[in-house]
């Protein structure tokens, strides 16, 4: 890769956080894996970025497709293998994924299994004591997010209008729920989990931090420093925790209530 500015927000944040470190060989151009550092500690950074030349036409815009899913799994598993006898490096998933790839070839070759492999790798790294942090700098959509970042111990997001989390794009969601796009948008204003914006997502208690930055699109000096500080703090906060328990709070009251009552009934 050349030193030109990456075309995607995720690519730019990856470059900024790694001081424009070189991408590791052995990965497709759409999965950039860079070994950088965080507060003096070696750290692996991973981002999915657009690759207009991808062999898979439905995965050229930064979507997580077949190759991306399996390559993410490789990037994470390789970290685990390398660190098996030593300190476990933090892994930072830089998240800017507009969607999973929607295509015939993708379904035919089992894109669900590719995404499962990625999610499985991140979950395994988390359990193997790698601090795993998801840094949401752009879109974190649906299956793409499940494969790239949602298994992290902690999620950090930039407080920016273009940062969104959702299960489906508005057009498709409207068609599937038999509503208009305006109808979907209206519901998203009143039903917190249906909203696309990151502040609504934060209200569900799923974020460790929501970070204000001056310019989420063009990472620069103070913003990059603030994100690094937040990542460092998240690593400390993770401590010995290996599960996703930190996400369960009053923001998801029903999720808590269900678990409380299940536990009470679990043993006969």
């Amino acid at each position: 890769m050349t030193a030109t500015t990456p075309s995607s927000r995720g690519g730019r944040w990856l470059a900024a956080l790694t001081d424009e470190g070189p991408a590791l060989p052995g990965y497709p151009d759409s999965v950039r894996v860079v070994d950088g550092e965080l507060d003096g500690t070696p750290t692996r950074y991973i981002a999915v970025v657009p690759d207009p030349a991808s062999d898979f036409p439905r995965a050229r815009g930064g979507e997580v497709g077949l190759v991306e899913g399996w390559a993410l799994a490789r990037a994470v598993r390789e970290t685990m293998t390398a660190d098996v006898d030593g300190p476990r490096r933090p892994i930072v998933a830089v998240i800017d994924v507009p969607s999973q790839a929607y295509g015939r070839t993708e379904e035919a070759f089992g894109i669900h299994q590719a995404l499962a492999a990625a999610a499985d790798a991140y979950a395994a790294a988390r359990r193997a004591e790698h601090p795993v942090i998801g840094l949401i700098v752009g879109k974190a959509m649906s299956g793409a997010f499940l494969a790239h970042g949602y298994q992290a111990n902690r999620l950090i997001a930039l407080d920016d209008a273009a940062v969104e989390v959702h299960a489906m794009g508005k057009q498709a969601a409207a068609r599937i729920t038999q509503r208009t796009v305006e109808g979907v948008e209206a519901l998203a204003r009143t039903i917190t989990p249906m909203a696309y914006d990151i502040r609504s997502f934060q209200r569900l208690g799923l974020l460790h931090r929501l970070l204000s930055v001056a310019d989420a699109d063009s990472p620069a000096g103070p913003d990059v420093a603030a994100v690094r500080d937040a990542l460092t703090e998240a690593c400390r906060d993770i401590g010995d925790s290996r599960d996703l328990g930190a996400r369960l709070g009053e923001g998801r009251a029903a999720s808590l209530a269900v678990r409380r009552r299940l536990r009470a009934q679990w043993q006969s």
């Binding site: 379904e107 949602y150 068609r175 519901l187 989990p193 999720s255």
Partner: protein
């Protein structure tokens, strides 16, 4: 198969979620947790003026299969297309988390997941997605201790984030009627156009994502007829197997090598896909 056999056979697919579970468990061992009379229903559907179901479409039951302690988590496909909302998702995730605690404490409980689901319930989008991530985490962790058994039985199929959950299972059983895929046909057509994917072309859809094709490509471990007894027998065999990381999830190199060999621009047909999965190192006919 002769007519008499067909008549004697009892469909699994035609049963509701609770009845499916009851048929898998040893007689007299079923104990449902958070049953419908607890009325833990979706807070979000009610807000949108949509009729709720008292169990939110998910049945959780403890019991035994051939004497082995299990917890069954069954999605009811008839309610909201089996879509996963906050409550139903938390029921599955919570049950799996408790099974993991037990497994870690040396009291193994084998999870059996009946996954007939469209994925995230869009009316509860981010709550469903979050719950599915928690389900993934639990399945991945449980697999080190016990086999995690998945069954995809009926025509609703298994899609969205729950297809990823299916992909994470140690043992995956499917029928010919079932489909398994990330994106539902309508969504692909919406996002990529009818030329890419015609959601009304049922033969094409089943030829690429149906249970038989998934078995032929190793993305499903066992193909089973829609016969309640036969499925119960396959589930019992899977429950009795040891914990393992199936090649389908763990063999990253083989998967990337396969993708490097194929032409991503070619219009996928079932035969070509099957051929691509047959290689010296990755024999899809062997489980």
């Amino acid at each position: 198969m002769d007519t008499a056999t067909l008549i004697a056979r009892e469909s699994f697919v035609e049963r509701g979620a609770r009845e499916r579970v009851a048929g898998l468990l040893d007689a007299g061992t079923m104990r449902e947790l958070l049953d419908p009379f607890e009325r833990l229903r979706s807070p979000w559907l009610a807000e949108q003026d949509i009729v709720t179901q008292a169990d939110d479409g998910v049945v959780i039951a403890r019991g035994a299969i051939a004497g082995t302690a299990v917890v069954c988590c069954a999605v009811e496909p008839a309610f909201q297309g089996g879509a996963i909302g906050e409550v139903g998702g938390a029921k599955i995730a919570g049950a799996l988390e408790l099974a993991l605690e037990d497994a870690e404490a040396g009291r193994p409980v084998v999870p059996v997941l009946l996954l007939e689901t469209g994925g995230v319930r869009l009316q509860e989008a981010n709550c469903g997605l979050a719950a599915i991530a928690e389900i993934h985490a639990a399945i991945a962790a449980l697999r080190a201790h016990v086999p995690v058994v998945g069954v995809v039985a009926g025509p609703v199929g298994c899609f969205g984030g729950m297809s990823i959950a299916a992909g994470l299972c140690s043992q995956l059983i499917a029928t010919r009627e079932a489909r398994l895929g990330l994106n539902g046909p309508q969504v692909i057509e919406q996002e990529a156009g009818v030329d890419e994917f015609d959601s009304r072309d049922r033969p094409m859809i089943w030829s690429l994502t149906g249970g038989e094709q998934r078995r032929a490509t190793g993305l499903v471990d066992t193909l089973c007829a829609d016969d309640a007894q036969a499925i119960a027998a396959e589930v019992a065999a899977a429950v009795a197997a040891g914990p393992e990381d199936p090649a389908r999830v763990a063999d990253v190199d083989a998967a990337l090598a396969r993708l490097a060999r194929i032409d991503g621009d070619r219009r996928a047909e079932a035969e070509w896909v099957r051929d691509a999965f047959q290689t010296p190192t990755d024999d899809g006919s062997d489980s």
